[in-house]
Amino acid sequence: MNSFLTAFFAGTSQGAIYALVSLGLVLVWRGAGVVNFAQMGQAMFTTYIASQLIQNEYSYWSAFVIALISGAILGAIVDLGIMRPLSSRKNSQLLNSQSMRTTIPVIASLGILGVLKSVAGILWAGEERGFPAPVPTTGLRLGNTDLAITGFDLFVIGVVFLALVLTTIFFTRTGMGLAMRASALNPEVTRLSGIRVGSVRTLSWAISGTASSLAGLLVTPKTNLSPNTLDLLLIVGFTAAVVGGLTSLAVQFWVDLFWAM
Protein backbone atom coordinates (compact mmCIF):
# COMPACT_ATOMS: atom_id res chain seq x y z
CA MET A 1 0.00 0.00 0.00
CA ASN A 2 2.81 2.34 0.95
CA SER A 3 4.62 1.81 -2.37
CA PHE A 4 1.38 2.41 -4.22
CA LEU A 5 0.87 5.72 -2.40
CA THR A 6 4.51 6.71 -2.96
CA ALA A 7 4.09 6.06 -6.68
CA PHE A 8 0.73 7.86 -6.65
CA PHE A 9 2.07 11.06 -5.09
CA ALA A 10 5.32 11.04 -7.07
CA GLY A 11 3.24 10.46 -10.24
CA THR A 12 0.87 13.29 -9.36
CA SER A 13 3.79 15.62 -8.79
CA GLN A 14 5.41 14.58 -12.09
CA GLY A 15 2.05 14.84 -13.91
CA ALA A 16 1.60 18.34 -12.55
CA ILE A 17 4.92 19.35 -14.16
CA TYR A 18 3.87 17.74 -17.46
CA ALA A 19 0.66 19.77 -17.20
CA LEU A 20 2.74 22.95 -17.07
CA VAL A 21 4.73 21.88 -20.14
CA SER A 22 1.50 21.08 -21.99
CA LEU A 23 -0.01 24.39 -20.87
CA GLY A 24 2.92 26.23 -22.48
CA LEU A 25 2.64 24.19 -25.67
CA VAL A 26 -1.13 24.62 -25.94
CA LEU A 27 -0.94 28.38 -25.33
CA VAL A 28 1.46 28.93 -28.22
CA TRP A 29 -0.29 26.41 -30.47
CA ARG A 30 -3.70 28.00 -29.90
CA GLY A 31 -2.39 31.56 -29.88
CA ALA A 32 0.08 31.45 -32.75
CA GLY A 33 -0.43 28.09 -34.50
CA VAL A 34 3.15 27.04 -33.73
CA VAL A 35 4.39 23.85 -32.07
CA ASN A 36 7.23 25.35 -30.08
CA PHE A 37 10.03 22.79 -29.84
CA ALA A 38 12.24 25.45 -28.24
CA GLN A 39 9.99 25.58 -25.18
CA MET A 40 12.07 23.41 -22.89
CA GLY A 41 15.24 25.02 -24.26
CA GLN A 42 13.82 28.32 -22.99
CA ALA A 43 13.03 26.61 -19.65
CA MET A 44 16.55 25.15 -19.44
CA PHE A 45 18.05 28.58 -20.10
CA THR A 46 16.01 30.36 -17.44
CA THR A 47 16.71 27.57 -14.92
CA TYR A 48 20.43 28.12 -15.58
CA ILE A 49 19.86 31.82 -14.88
CA ALA A 50 18.24 30.89 -11.54
CA SER A 51 21.06 28.46 -10.78
CA GLN A 52 23.65 31.16 -11.51
CA LEU A 53 21.86 33.63 -9.24
CA ILE A 54 21.73 31.08 -6.42
CA GLN A 55 25.46 30.42 -6.91
CA ASN A 56 25.99 34.17 -6.63
CA GLU A 57 24.27 33.98 -3.23
CA TYR A 58 20.89 35.35 -4.18
CA SER A 59 18.04 33.74 -2.26
CA TYR A 60 16.16 30.82 -3.84
CA TRP A 61 12.97 32.87 -4.05
CA SER A 62 14.50 35.90 -5.77
CA ALA A 63 16.16 33.52 -8.27
CA PHE A 64 12.78 31.77 -8.70
CA VAL A 65 10.95 35.03 -9.49
CA ILE A 66 13.72 36.32 -11.79
CA ALA A 67 13.66 33.00 -13.69
CA LEU A 68 9.90 33.30 -14.22
CA ILE A 69 10.25 36.89 -15.45
CA SER A 70 13.13 35.83 -17.72
CA GLY A 71 10.87 33.07 -19.09
CA ALA A 72 8.23 35.65 -20.02
CA ILE A 73 10.79 37.97 -21.59
CA LEU A 74 12.45 35.14 -23.53
CA GLY A 75 9.04 33.98 -24.81
CA ALA A 76 8.20 37.52 -25.97
CA ILE A 77 11.62 37.89 -27.63
CA VAL A 78 11.14 34.62 -29.55
CA ASP A 79 7.83 35.94 -30.90
CA LEU A 80 8.85 39.54 -31.59
CA GLY A 81 12.38 38.83 -32.79
CA ILE A 82 11.91 35.63 -34.76
CA MET A 83 8.37 34.33 -35.26
CA ARG A 84 6.66 37.61 -36.18
CA PRO A 85 9.28 38.72 -38.74
CA LEU A 86 9.13 35.22 -40.28
CA SER A 87 5.35 35.27 -40.60
CA SER A 88 5.27 38.78 -42.04
CA ARG A 89 7.71 38.13 -44.88
CA LYS A 90 5.72 38.65 -48.03
CA ASN A 91 8.39 38.91 -50.70
CA SER A 92 8.86 35.20 -51.23
CA GLN A 93 6.36 32.94 -52.98
CA LEU A 94 7.87 29.94 -51.17
CA LEU A 95 7.31 31.51 -47.76
CA ASN A 96 3.80 32.54 -48.70
CA SER A 97 2.57 29.00 -49.37
CA GLN A 98 0.32 27.65 -46.62
CA SER A 99 2.43 24.55 -45.96
CA MET A 100 5.60 26.61 -45.55
CA ARG A 101 3.80 29.12 -43.35
CA THR A 102 3.10 26.34 -40.86
CA THR A 103 6.41 24.51 -41.28
CA ILE A 104 8.86 27.41 -41.06
CA PRO A 105 8.04 28.47 -37.46
CA VAL A 106 8.46 24.84 -36.33
CA ILE A 107 11.87 24.62 -38.02
CA ALA A 108 12.73 28.00 -36.51
CA SER A 109 11.79 26.71 -33.04
CA LEU A 110 14.18 23.77 -33.52
CA GLY A 111 16.87 26.28 -34.52
CA ILE A 112 16.18 28.34 -31.39
CA LEU A 113 16.45 25.18 -29.28
CA GLY A 114 19.88 24.49 -30.81
CA VAL A 115 21.06 28.05 -30.23
CA LEU A 116 19.87 28.08 -26.60
CA LYS A 117 21.62 24.78 -25.89
CA SER A 118 24.84 26.00 -27.47
CA VAL A 119 24.77 29.33 -25.63
CA ALA A 120 24.03 27.54 -22.32
CA GLY A 121 26.95 25.20 -23.07
CA ILE A 122 29.27 28.15 -23.67
CA LEU A 123 28.07 30.18 -20.67
CA TRP A 124 27.79 27.37 -18.14
CA ALA A 125 30.26 24.83 -19.55
CA GLY A 126 27.49 22.37 -20.36
CA GLU A 127 28.18 20.33 -17.27
CA GLU A 128 25.45 18.72 -15.22
CA ARG A 129 24.83 20.59 -12.01
CA GLY A 130 22.43 20.22 -9.11
CA PHE A 131 19.54 22.58 -8.56
CA PRO A 132 18.19 23.14 -5.06
CA ALA A 133 14.64 22.53 -3.87
CA PRO A 134 13.05 25.09 -1.56
CA VAL A 135 11.67 22.35 0.71
CA PRO A 136 13.03 18.92 1.77
CA THR A 137 12.91 16.20 -0.88
CA THR A 138 12.74 13.47 1.78
CA GLY A 139 9.53 11.74 2.88
CA LEU A 140 7.33 13.59 5.35
CA ARG A 141 6.63 12.20 8.80
CA LEU A 142 3.43 12.55 10.80
CA GLY A 143 4.26 11.63 14.41
CA ASN A 144 5.99 8.25 14.13
CA THR A 145 4.51 7.41 10.76
CA ASP A 146 6.43 7.86 7.48
CA LEU A 147 4.14 9.40 4.87
CA ALA A 148 4.26 8.36 1.24
CA ILE A 149 4.72 11.93 0.03
CA THR A 150 7.75 14.21 0.13
CA GLY A 151 7.60 17.88 1.04
CA PHE A 152 8.83 18.71 -2.45
CA ASP A 153 6.07 16.65 -4.11
CA LEU A 154 3.56 18.57 -2.02
CA PHE A 155 5.22 21.85 -3.00
CA VAL A 156 5.13 20.99 -6.72
CA ILE A 157 1.47 19.92 -6.59
CA GLY A 158 0.55 23.10 -4.69
CA VAL A 159 2.47 25.46 -7.00
CA VAL A 160 1.09 23.87 -10.17
CA PHE A 161 -2.43 23.84 -8.76
CA LEU A 162 -2.09 27.55 -7.94
CA ALA A 163 -0.68 28.26 -11.42
CA LEU A 164 -3.58 26.45 -13.08
CA VAL A 165 -6.17 28.25 -10.90
CA LEU A 166 -4.59 31.63 -11.73
CA THR A 167 -4.46 30.73 -15.43
CA THR A 168 -8.12 29.68 -15.39
CA ILE A 169 -9.15 32.93 -13.63
CA PHE A 170 -7.09 34.92 -16.13
CA PHE A 171 -8.72 33.24 -19.12
CA THR A 172 -12.30 33.23 -17.87
CA ARG A 173 -12.58 36.42 -15.80
CA THR A 174 -10.38 39.06 -17.45
CA GLY A 175 -10.70 41.08 -20.63
CA MET A 176 -7.18 40.12 -21.72
CA GLY A 177 -8.02 36.44 -21.17
CA LEU A 178 -11.12 36.86 -23.35
CA ALA A 179 -9.01 38.61 -26.01
CA MET A 180 -6.52 35.71 -25.94
CA ARG A 181 -9.23 33.07 -26.29
CA ALA A 182 -10.93 35.05 -29.05
CA SER A 183 -7.76 35.66 -31.04
CA ALA A 184 -6.91 31.96 -30.86
CA LEU A 185 -10.40 30.95 -32.01
CA ASN A 186 -11.03 33.57 -34.70
CA PRO A 187 -8.27 36.13 -35.35
CA GLU A 188 -10.25 37.97 -38.04
CA VAL A 189 -13.33 38.64 -35.90
CA THR A 190 -11.01 39.58 -33.03
CA ARG A 191 -9.13 42.11 -35.17
CA LEU A 192 -12.47 43.50 -36.37
CA SER A 193 -13.28 44.02 -32.68
CA GLY A 194 -10.32 46.40 -32.40
CA ILE A 195 -8.08 43.95 -30.53
CA ARG A 196 -4.38 44.05 -31.43
CA VAL A 197 -4.03 40.34 -32.19
CA GLY A 198 -0.24 40.60 -32.64
CA SER A 199 0.23 41.90 -29.08
CA VAL A 200 -2.14 39.27 -27.72
CA ARG A 201 -0.08 36.62 -29.51
CA THR A 202 3.12 37.94 -27.95
CA LEU A 203 1.44 37.69 -24.55
CA SER A 204 0.65 34.01 -25.29
CA TRP A 205 4.36 33.43 -25.93
CA ALA A 206 5.25 35.25 -22.73
CA ILE A 207 2.82 33.27 -20.55
CA SER A 208 3.95 30.06 -22.22
CA GLY A 209 7.57 31.02 -21.45
CA THR A 210 6.67 31.59 -17.80
CA ALA A 211 4.86 28.23 -17.54
CA SER A 212 7.83 26.38 -19.06
CA SER A 213 10.24 28.25 -16.86
CA LEU A 214 8.23 27.16 -13.83
CA ALA A 215 8.29 23.56 -15.09
CA GLY A 216 12.09 23.77 -15.39
CA LEU A 217 12.45 25.10 -11.83
CA LEU A 218 10.22 22.36 -10.47
CA VAL A 219 11.69 19.38 -12.31
CA THR A 220 15.44 20.05 -12.00
CA PRO A 221 15.78 19.42 -8.22
CA LYS A 222 15.02 15.78 -9.10
CA THR A 223 16.86 15.50 -12.41
CA ASN A 224 19.79 17.95 -12.13
CA LEU A 225 20.44 20.59 -14.76
CA SER A 226 22.30 20.33 -18.05
CA PRO A 227 21.58 21.69 -21.54
CA ASN A 228 19.85 18.39 -22.42
CA THR A 229 18.05 17.67 -19.14
CA LEU A 230 14.63 18.92 -20.13
CA ASP A 231 14.39 17.26 -23.57
CA LEU A 232 12.50 14.26 -22.20
CA LEU A 233 10.06 16.56 -20.44
CA LEU A 234 9.19 18.17 -23.76
CA ILE A 235 8.64 14.79 -25.41
CA VAL A 236 6.30 13.60 -22.64
CA GLY A 237 4.54 16.97 -22.37
CA PHE A 238 4.14 17.16 -26.15
CA THR A 239 2.81 13.60 -26.38
CA ALA A 240 0.31 14.32 -23.60
CA ALA A 241 -0.67 17.58 -25.32
CA VAL A 242 -1.34 15.73 -28.57
CA VAL A 243 -3.36 13.02 -26.75
CA GLY A 244 -5.34 15.83 -25.10
CA GLY A 245 -6.02 17.33 -28.54
CA LEU A 246 -3.98 20.53 -27.99
CA THR A 247 -7.16 22.30 -26.97
CA SER A 248 -8.76 22.53 -23.54
CA LEU A 249 -6.41 23.24 -20.65
CA ALA A 250 -8.63 21.26 -18.28
CA VAL A 251 -8.61 18.16 -20.52
CA GLN A 252 -4.86 18.63 -20.84
CA PHE A 253 -4.38 18.64 -17.08
CA TRP A 254 -6.17 15.31 -16.58
CA VAL A 255 -4.36 13.68 -19.52
CA ASP A 256 -1.05 14.76 -18.03
CA LEU A 257 -1.88 13.38 -14.59
CA PHE A 258 -3.07 10.08 -16.07
CA TRP A 259 0.06 9.93 -18.22
CA ALA A 260 2.35 10.41 -15.25
CA MET A 261 0.55 7.74 -13.18
Binding site: L178, L185, E188, L192, S193, G194
Partner: protein, 237 residues
Protein backbone atom coordinates in the same frame (compact mmCIF):
# COMPACT_ATOMS: atom_id res chain seq x y z
CA UNK B 1 -18.35 61.38 -45.06
CA UNK B 2 -16.78 58.20 -46.43
CA UNK B 3 -14.84 58.98 -49.59
CA UNK B 4 -13.39 56.18 -51.72
CA UNK B 5 -11.19 57.39 -54.57
CA UNK B 6 -9.73 55.37 -57.45
CA UNK B 7 -9.48 52.26 -55.30
CA UNK B 8 -7.74 49.24 -56.79
CA UNK B 9 -7.39 45.93 -54.95
CA UNK B 10 -5.63 43.04 -56.64
CA UNK B 11 -5.36 39.33 -55.90
CA UNK B 12 -2.46 37.74 -57.79
CA UNK B 13 -2.62 40.51 -60.42
CA UNK B 14 -6.40 40.11 -60.91
CA UNK B 15 -8.16 43.37 -60.16
CA UNK B 16 -11.00 42.56 -57.75
CA UNK B 17 -11.63 46.30 -57.43
CA UNK B 18 -10.80 48.35 -60.49
CA UNK B 19 -10.66 52.11 -60.00
CA UNK B 20 -13.63 52.39 -57.63
CA UNK B 21 -14.75 55.86 -56.55
CA UNK B 22 -17.84 56.87 -54.58
CA UNK B 23 -18.99 58.73 -51.50
CA UNK B 24 -21.29 57.68 -48.67
CA UNK B 25 -23.20 60.44 -46.91
CA UNK B 26 -23.06 60.58 -43.11
CA UNK B 27 -26.12 59.39 -41.24
CA UNK B 28 -27.49 57.58 -44.30
CA UNK B 29 -27.53 54.06 -45.67
CA UNK B 30 -25.58 53.53 -48.88
CA UNK B 31 -26.24 50.17 -50.46
CA UNK B 32 -23.76 48.37 -52.68
CA UNK B 33 -25.35 45.76 -54.92
CA UNK B 34 -24.00 43.47 -57.59
CA UNK B 35 -23.84 39.85 -58.70
CA UNK B 36 -21.51 37.25 -57.17
CA UNK B 37 -17.88 38.14 -57.80
CA UNK B 38 -18.64 41.82 -58.43
CA UNK B 39 -16.23 42.84 -55.67
CA UNK B 40 -18.76 43.88 -53.00
CA UNK B 41 -17.16 41.99 -50.10
CA UNK B 42 -13.65 42.93 -51.27
CA UNK B 43 -14.73 46.58 -51.16
CA UNK B 44 -15.81 46.29 -47.51
CA UNK B 45 -12.74 44.23 -46.58
CA UNK B 46 -10.52 46.88 -48.17
CA UNK B 47 -12.25 49.71 -46.30
CA UNK B 48 -11.92 47.83 -43.00
CA UNK B 49 -8.23 47.11 -43.66
CA UNK B 50 -8.52 43.33 -44.02
CA UNK B 51 -7.28 43.67 -47.61
CA UNK B 52 -4.56 46.10 -48.67
CA UNK B 53 -5.36 48.22 -51.75
CA UNK B 54 -2.83 48.42 -54.55
CA UNK B 55 -3.68 52.07 -55.10
CA UNK B 56 -6.32 54.68 -54.37
CA UNK B 57 -7.47 56.15 -51.10
CA UNK B 58 -10.16 55.79 -48.45
CA UNK B 59 -10.97 58.70 -46.16
CA UNK B 60 -13.48 58.93 -43.33
CA UNK B 61 -14.14 62.65 -42.89
CA UNK B 62 -10.58 64.02 -42.66
CA UNK B 63 -8.98 60.77 -41.60
CA UNK B 64 -6.99 58.73 -44.09
CA UNK B 65 -7.77 55.03 -43.54
CA UNK B 66 -5.87 53.59 -46.50
CA UNK B 67 -2.70 52.46 -44.74
CA UNK B 68 -4.09 51.91 -41.27
CA UNK B 69 -4.28 48.51 -39.59
CA UNK B 70 -7.63 46.81 -39.05
CA UNK B 71 -7.43 47.51 -35.31
CA UNK B 72 -6.65 51.22 -35.87
CA UNK B 73 -9.55 51.53 -38.32
CA UNK B 74 -11.95 50.03 -35.74
CA UNK B 75 -10.60 52.48 -33.17
CA UNK B 76 -11.32 55.31 -35.67
CA UNK B 77 -15.01 54.43 -35.46
CA UNK B 78 -15.39 52.08 -38.42
CA UNK B 79 -16.83 48.65 -37.59
CA UNK B 80 -17.41 45.78 -39.99
CA UNK B 81 -19.87 42.94 -39.67
CA UNK B 82 -18.38 40.39 -42.05
CA UNK B 83 -20.32 38.04 -44.27
CA UNK B 84 -21.56 34.77 -42.73
CA UNK B 85 -22.81 35.91 -39.30
CA UNK B 86 -19.27 36.28 -37.99
CA UNK B 87 -19.38 35.42 -34.32
CA UNK B 88 -17.08 33.22 -32.26
CA UNK B 89 -19.14 30.08 -31.76
CA UNK B 90 -17.20 28.75 -28.76
CA UNK B 91 -17.63 31.95 -26.74
CA UNK B 92 -20.90 32.81 -25.00
CA UNK B 93 -23.27 35.43 -26.39
CA UNK B 94 -22.25 37.85 -23.62
CA UNK B 95 -18.53 37.27 -24.30
CA UNK B 96 -19.00 37.97 -28.02
CA UNK B 97 -20.66 41.28 -27.15
CA UNK B 98 -18.01 42.10 -24.53
CA UNK B 99 -15.30 41.42 -27.13
CA UNK B 100 -16.64 44.20 -29.37
CA UNK B 101 -16.12 46.84 -26.70
CA UNK B 102 -13.04 45.41 -25.04
CA UNK B 103 -10.68 47.97 -26.57
CA UNK B 104 -12.75 50.76 -24.95
CA UNK B 105 -12.85 49.11 -21.53
CA UNK B 106 -10.23 51.34 -19.90
CA UNK B 107 -11.40 54.67 -21.29
CA UNK B 108 -15.15 54.20 -21.36
CA UNK B 109 -16.16 51.47 -18.92
CA UNK B 110 -19.42 53.25 -18.02
CA UNK B 111 -20.43 53.82 -21.63
CA UNK B 112 -19.59 50.21 -22.45
CA UNK B 113 -22.16 49.05 -19.91
CA UNK B 114 -24.74 51.42 -21.45
CA UNK B 115 -23.88 50.24 -24.98
CA UNK B 116 -24.25 46.60 -23.88
CA UNK B 117 -27.63 47.37 -22.31
CA UNK B 118 -28.72 49.10 -25.52
CA UNK B 119 -27.90 46.13 -27.75
CA UNK B 120 -29.75 43.82 -25.38
CA UNK B 121 -32.76 46.17 -25.63
CA UNK B 122 -32.41 46.15 -29.43
CA UNK B 123 -32.21 42.35 -29.54
CA UNK B 124 -33.92 41.00 -26.37
CA UNK B 125 -33.40 37.39 -27.47
CA UNK B 126 -29.66 37.88 -27.01
CA UNK B 127 -30.19 38.91 -23.40
CA UNK B 128 -32.25 35.79 -22.78
CA UNK B 129 -29.52 33.63 -24.29
CA UNK B 130 -26.52 35.63 -23.05
CA UNK B 131 -24.92 32.71 -21.18
CA UNK B 132 -25.28 30.22 -24.04
CA UNK B 133 -22.54 29.56 -26.59
CA UNK B 134 -22.92 31.66 -29.73
CA UNK B 135 -22.72 28.44 -31.77
CA UNK B 136 -26.12 27.37 -30.40
CA UNK B 137 -27.91 30.42 -31.87
CA UNK B 138 -30.03 30.36 -35.03
CA UNK B 139 -28.75 32.12 -38.17
CA UNK B 140 -30.81 35.23 -37.48
CA UNK B 141 -29.71 35.40 -33.85
CA UNK B 142 -26.08 35.00 -34.90
CA UNK B 143 -26.48 37.93 -37.28
CA UNK B 144 -28.02 39.98 -34.47
CA UNK B 145 -25.06 39.04 -32.29
CA UNK B 146 -22.54 39.99 -35.00
CA UNK B 147 -24.23 43.40 -35.35
CA UNK B 148 -24.31 43.82 -31.55
CA UNK B 149 -20.59 43.05 -31.32
CA UNK B 150 -19.96 45.85 -33.81
CA UNK B 151 -22.38 48.30 -32.14
CA UNK B 152 -20.86 48.15 -28.64
CA UNK B 153 -17.74 49.68 -30.20
CA UNK B 154 -19.93 52.78 -30.80
CA UNK B 155 -18.98 53.01 -34.48
CA UNK B 156 -19.72 56.05 -36.62
CA UNK B 157 -19.56 53.97 -39.80
CA UNK B 158 -20.97 50.45 -39.95
CA UNK B 159 -19.94 48.16 -42.80
CA UNK B 160 -22.53 45.40 -43.19
CA UNK B 161 -21.65 42.53 -45.49
CA UNK B 162 -24.73 40.62 -46.68
CA UNK B 163 -26.62 40.52 -43.39
CA UNK B 164 -29.51 38.65 -45.01
CA UNK B 165 -27.35 35.79 -46.34
CA UNK B 166 -28.93 32.45 -45.46
CA UNK B 167 -31.76 34.01 -43.46
CA UNK B 168 -35.51 33.67 -43.85
CA UNK B 169 -36.96 36.74 -45.65
CA UNK B 170 -38.90 37.80 -42.55
CA UNK B 171 -35.79 37.74 -40.34
CA UNK B 172 -33.61 39.51 -42.89
CA UNK B 173 -36.28 42.23 -43.34
CA UNK B 174 -36.41 42.61 -39.54
CA UNK B 175 -32.63 43.02 -39.31
CA UNK B 176 -32.46 45.54 -42.14
CA UNK B 177 -35.33 47.50 -40.60
CA UNK B 178 -33.50 47.62 -37.24
CA UNK B 179 -30.38 48.94 -39.02
CA UNK B 180 -32.55 51.57 -40.72
CA UNK B 181 -34.00 52.61 -37.35
CA UNK B 182 -30.50 52.82 -35.84
CA UNK B 183 -29.34 54.98 -38.69
CA UNK B 184 -32.23 57.40 -38.23
CA UNK B 185 -32.06 57.52 -34.43
CA UNK B 186 -28.30 57.67 -33.90
CA UNK B 187 -26.92 59.23 -37.07
CA UNK B 188 -24.94 56.08 -37.84
CA UNK B 189 -23.57 55.90 -41.38
CA UNK B 190 -24.10 52.49 -42.98
CA UNK B 191 -22.47 50.94 -46.01
CA UNK B 192 -24.65 47.93 -46.74
CA UNK B 193 -23.60 45.22 -49.17
CA UNK B 194 -26.45 43.02 -50.34
CA UNK B 195 -27.45 40.61 -53.07
CA UNK B 196 -31.06 41.09 -52.09
CA UNK B 197 -31.22 44.40 -53.94
CA UNK B 198 -34.90 45.28 -53.42
CA UNK B 199 -34.85 44.97 -49.61
CA UNK B 200 -31.54 46.79 -49.29
CA UNK B 201 -32.33 49.63 -51.70
CA UNK B 202 -35.73 50.18 -50.06
CA UNK B 203 -34.06 51.55 -46.92
CA UNK B 204 -31.08 53.18 -48.64
CA UNK B 205 -30.46 56.78 -49.52
CA UNK B 206 -28.06 55.92 -52.29
CA UNK B 207 -27.21 52.85 -54.35
CA UNK B 208 -24.02 51.71 -56.01
CA UNK B 209 -24.04 48.92 -58.57
CA UNK B 210 -20.81 47.00 -58.97
CA UNK B 211 -19.91 44.66 -61.83
CA UNK B 212 -16.56 42.90 -62.23
CA UNK B 213 -14.90 45.26 -59.79
CA UNK B 214 -16.15 48.48 -61.39
CA UNK B 215 -18.86 50.97 -60.46
CA UNK B 216 -21.44 50.82 -63.26
CA UNK B 217 -24.10 52.94 -61.52
CA UNK B 218 -23.98 55.42 -58.65
CA UNK B 219 -27.51 56.75 -58.21
CA UNK B 220 -30.09 57.68 -55.60
CA UNK B 221 -31.59 54.40 -54.35
CA UNK B 222 -35.04 55.14 -55.77
CA UNK B 223 -33.64 55.67 -59.27
CA UNK B 224 -31.60 52.48 -59.06
CA UNK B 225 -34.68 50.46 -58.02
CA UNK B 226 -36.63 51.92 -60.91
CA UNK B 227 -33.97 51.25 -63.54
CA UNK B 228 -35.08 47.87 -64.85
CA UNK B 229 -32.58 47.94 -67.71
CA UNK B 230 -29.61 48.18 -65.34
CA UNK B 231 -31.01 45.47 -63.10
CA UNK B 232 -31.66 43.15 -66.02
CA UNK B 233 -28.16 43.75 -67.43
CA UNK B 234 -26.21 43.36 -64.21
CA UNK B 235 -28.36 41.47 -61.72
CA UNK B 236 -30.27 39.22 -64.12
CA UNK B 237 -33.83 40.10 -63.11
Amino acid sequence: MLKVSNLVTEFASIKALNDISFQAKPGRITTVIGANGAGKSTLLRTISGLERPTSGSITWFDEELTDKSVEAIVRSGVAQVPEGHAVISQLSVAENIELGGLFRKRQARGDLEIATKEVYELFPILFERRREPAGSLSGGERQMLAISRALVARPKLLLLDEPSLGLAPLISAQIISIVDELCKSTGLTVLLVEQNANTALAVADHGILLALGKVVADLPAKELIADSALRAAYLGY
